[in-house]
Symmetry: C2
DNA sequence: TCACTATGGTGAACACCGTAAACTGAGTAC
DNA sequence: GTACTCAGTTTACGGTGTTCACCATAGTGA
């Protein structure tokens, strides 16, 4: 040891070991505050009062660390959207035999509210409110968490798709399940028109079936409904990511009114008329 | 000079100076062949038989170099799409007084073909064929140039939007003009329903007008038509970028049939029925 | 022909980066 | 006491963008 007292001078005294959550939280904070390049292993470690190689005790690479950050963000986003869905409809006191909604792992939140309601018109209205709230919350989160959104929905990390099913993809699927659960409720409430099985490309139909199985929510929704779900998702993704990534700036300074029209398109896809009473 | 003959041994003899085009071409080749991280200044320079600081004679930073690469890609993509549009309809011998289409800087290609035709049904059919061809070519290019597509339409470079109007944005606008010129032809041929000016949010309408002016193609298309144009673009962008970025893989292995349905949605937006005779 | 200048580079250096290997100090089970 | 594990640290390697000082060549005006 060349400088006997150097270690205790240069680093913060660590009274306990770091945790994986602290590391991902630090990484995320740096990412949000100073951009993706600032979330380097050295910077993360420095922020925690340690050195970069120490992080390898917790994650095998920077990419694996980032995947855990991604997973955490997916969970937060899904949670925020579930909350927005819950708050979209007034609380409903279910009857004694009510609340039969099958809440799967995706979390069919609010299934006891609108879905369990006996009046079809109320169920329909509640489902529409929830749908609009979920889409709005997705956009709100994206605009308020642009760096995070870019990580979740932008160009994927280089080695992300090496065959195995990692935690980020798992949480992404769970996030999709949040929307899908809402969509199922909508389908049960509205029964909007969907393509007949015979009108769907054969190869596409088997893929839709696999996707439904992967989501884990058992349902009687036909393949056509899942198809409509994906079309809605594509439209929502396109509108929000174009806005967040600035790809609409060549045309619009403020894409907000355009998004309202997108909501109208979405509502049209699921048999609703959009201009609802605003919240 | 410590080693008299060293310079001529270690580097390729450069008989002439490098050009900016050679540099961007080399950068692009490395990007495509080995991913974005491989397009480092040192690698580009090495590939050209020079050293990294020499590149600063041509570009003030790596980012500026990449912006020129982006501009070149936008030009190529626009050119490919224009060619696909031209080849979508059989060549038409215009009458003596024909070919009145106002070809602006965006390049209203084929304006002398379908747009100048006298039979409305033919004009309509040709416009539909061109629209489908353009969208298909956009997807084809994206799938065949995934690294390039990610650069053009993924998360933008960090410092890209620092106020000034650089060459990449200029070429992006020109690319948009390619689609817009086609869209104008479609509008003139089909006159599909568009939102009335009074139905469009006031703030949105002035933005749409600004956008039309920025494109430079003088036209009598109403604001509602530009709005439909943007909605088409959002849908197309969403479908293609989700597929290229792998964000549909959680649901679909092969998104091709899904894209055909997206084409149907697009056709519906512009008053056409999609299942056309395939090319 | 001489001096001057612009062009188009080079090599060294700086401050970073992810990562691997060897090592170290504390705590703990036996 | 001894072996072992944990949670890090040093050190090092090769890579990155970028800056700086320098240099060879070409062209030009006097």
């Amino acid at each position: 040891m060349t400088q006997p007292s150097a270690p205790s001078l240069t680093r913060r005294d660590r009274v306990r070991a770091a945790t994986m959550e602290e590391i991902t939280a630090t990484a995320r904070r740096l990412l949000v505050e100073h951009g993706p390049a600032a979330a380097s292993l050295r910077a993360i470690a420095r922020e925690m009062g340690m050195t970069a190689p120490g992080l390898y005790r917790y994650y095998s690479s920077r990419e694996e660390l980032l995947r855990h950050v991604i997973a955490e963000m997916f969970r937060e986003l899904a949670s925020d959207i579930r909350r927005a869905i819950e708050e979209a409809v007034p609380p409903h006191r279910a009857g004694p035999g009510g609340a039969v909604g099958a809440a799967g792992p995706g979390g069919a939140v609010g299934a006891a509210d609108g879905a369990g309601h006996e009046d079809p018109a109320v169920r329909r209205a509640h489902a529409a409110l929830k749908m609009v709230a979920a889409c709005r919350e997705f956009r709100r989160w994206a605009l308020g968490h642009q760096e995070e959104f870019a990580l979740l929905f932008g160009v994927p990390l280089p080695g992300l798709d090496d065959g195995r099913f990692d935690i980020a993809e798992q949480c992404a699927l769970e996030f999709a399940g949040t929307f899908y659960a809402l969509f199922l409720e909508l389908w049960n409430a509205v029964r909007f028109p969907v393509p007949a099985p015979s009108d769907i490309d054969q190869g596409l139909r088997v893929q839709l079936g696999r996707f439904r199985d992967a989501l884990g929510l058992q349902s009687d929704a036909p393949d056509g409904a899942i198809l409509v779900f994906l079309r809605c998702w594509v439209l929502l993704y396109g509108a929000v990511s174009m806005e967040v990534f600035g790809h609409l700036q060549f045309a619009l300074d403020d894409p907000a009114p355009m998004f309202e029209l997108t909501l109208g398109d979405l509502a049209h896809l699921v048999g609703l008329e959009y201009p609802l009473p605003e919240g």
